[in-house]
Amino acid sequence: MTGPFLRLAALAVLAAAPARAAEELNLFAWSEYIPQGVIDRFTAETGIRVNYETFSSGEEMMAKVLAGGTSYDVVQPPDYIAEALIQAGMLQRLDPKLLPHLGNILPEFLHLPHDPTQSYTVPYMTGTVGIVVNTQAVKEPVLGYGDVFKPSHAGRIVVLNDNRELVTWALYSLGKAPNDLTAGNIELARPVLARWIPLVRVFDSDSPKTSLLNGDVDLGIVWSGEAAILYQQDPKFRYVLPSEGAHRFVDVLAIPVHSEHVAAAHRFIDFVLLPDVSRQISDAFPYTNPNGAARRLLSARQLANPASYPANGPRDTFRAIGRVSEQIDQVVTDLKNSR
């Protein structure tokens, strides 16, 4: 409905942008995700100055983009937030002619449910949420969520402090699809979480590796990037994709409709797609690199890190959710509250 208008507006901006101020770019991205070296290299090669602002959760990012204020040129939402932004008409269609290196992305990371036509987003890095085990402290095999949340592991577990993740794991353990977030299913997850939550010692989304490294906990469910860093420091930390199914996230780059530097934004996205630049990102942040050409530049050691490149297993990306986020928050708050 508003599509043609937006495209027209985007084209108008595109035409006007280089004349005014192509030498600037407002980038809004996750903290600890884009190496400063990459940004400096982009500025050195293109002369475009980058204003780099960070966020620490997808929801925070969405709130700021929806509120207006700064007109960001490149944003870095996780898949399900990108889907919500596309639905709200906040992202503009990308110009494939300005992204000649899009072909570097492996097909398995393209045309995912959040952007089925691959018109609005370009994958940046991807990863999974899985189990990390200190194999010196935990001898029995830990293969799925049920093995983590055992009474014998009480007080030895770290998990992400993320209510949607918790509900997702409970749904997987019940054999439900993780995006099937109906009120009824969330109520089914409640008794499972009521058993699990009292066993957890630490809820931490920012740096779950800290409590594992300190030896205060022995196993956990964390971002794969954190597990990859743990494995680099000590191979006793083993990463496993839960047998019941795992959440895979794809963080993407996209251009909001209010961008004032559309050409520069495309240039930045294509720059990140260059194999050598993408390799530099993998060196700093060992997530799963969706860039096939960049993967060929990685060392055998990097590719052998089981947290960065886990064996195949069932995994799903999150879909956008609306009001049900309130119910999820309420269930988890309730259960933590009754400890």
Binding site: A84, N214, K336
Partner: protein, 296 residues
Amino acid sequence: MQALFSPPSASPGSQQPTRRAWLMLAPMVLWLVLFAVVPLGVLAVYSFCQRDELGRLVYAFSWESYARVFDPRYLRILWRSLGYATATTAACLALGYPAAFYIARREVRLRERLLLLVMIPFWTSFLIRTYAWIQILKGHGLLNAVLQSLHLVSAPVEWLYTPTAVVIGLVYSFLPFMMLPIFASAEKLDESLLEAAQDLGAGPLRVFWTVAIPLTRPGIAAGVILVFVPAIGMFAVTDLLGGAQVPLIGNVIQNQFLQARNWPFGAALGVVFTLLFAVSYGLLQREPRWERRRSP
């Protein structure tokens, strides 16, 4: 509220000092209006709004958020937060009062050096200092190493990720806010009053309770407010040192603005929270007057 903004009364009849007083107050008033009154107003408006699917505000009137604030589960969280804040304030007072009193009674040069020591921690970011506590309190950390080498405990004690760790972190963060106002009060305390009490036969404890404490009460009251109020809303310490095991009111509010994306509910919690502060502040302000009436 009005009393707060009226300028100090000038001598009757003369117009100029009042205008000058207003002029001097203007930057402060402007600051308060911009960064306290306006945001509070915005918060109050949001708290009566609704949200759409994406979490954007819908300007349609609703009481719904306030109905939820008084749901027993959130009241329980509020009580727990008050409990933590009370324990923190009591510990800060018990540790801070003697230290501040001692510093205030030293000779000038030593006093300044000791005071500097109280303020040095502010040179480092609060978060970094909290991370340092993780290193001290962790299973194989400094505290357990010391306790074990002194043979006080045989096995490492679990300090980190417990309520004790949270209170330790809160007390550490807020202790200077208790000490500085008490120091300011104690510094002004007239030495001759203490001597007079001694001359009249009061023992050291009695001098302390009946002379020193009442005379430093303004400092105690200021310190209690400066510690108690931010301690209720703190969420970083409870996340980092408490492992985010149990929700406190600060965590719940933070969640409404980020994960749950329910700004009206978060705003309603904030408004109720602010009203609570106003009431407790009022109560604290009344106490000295009541005391004064009783003891002539």
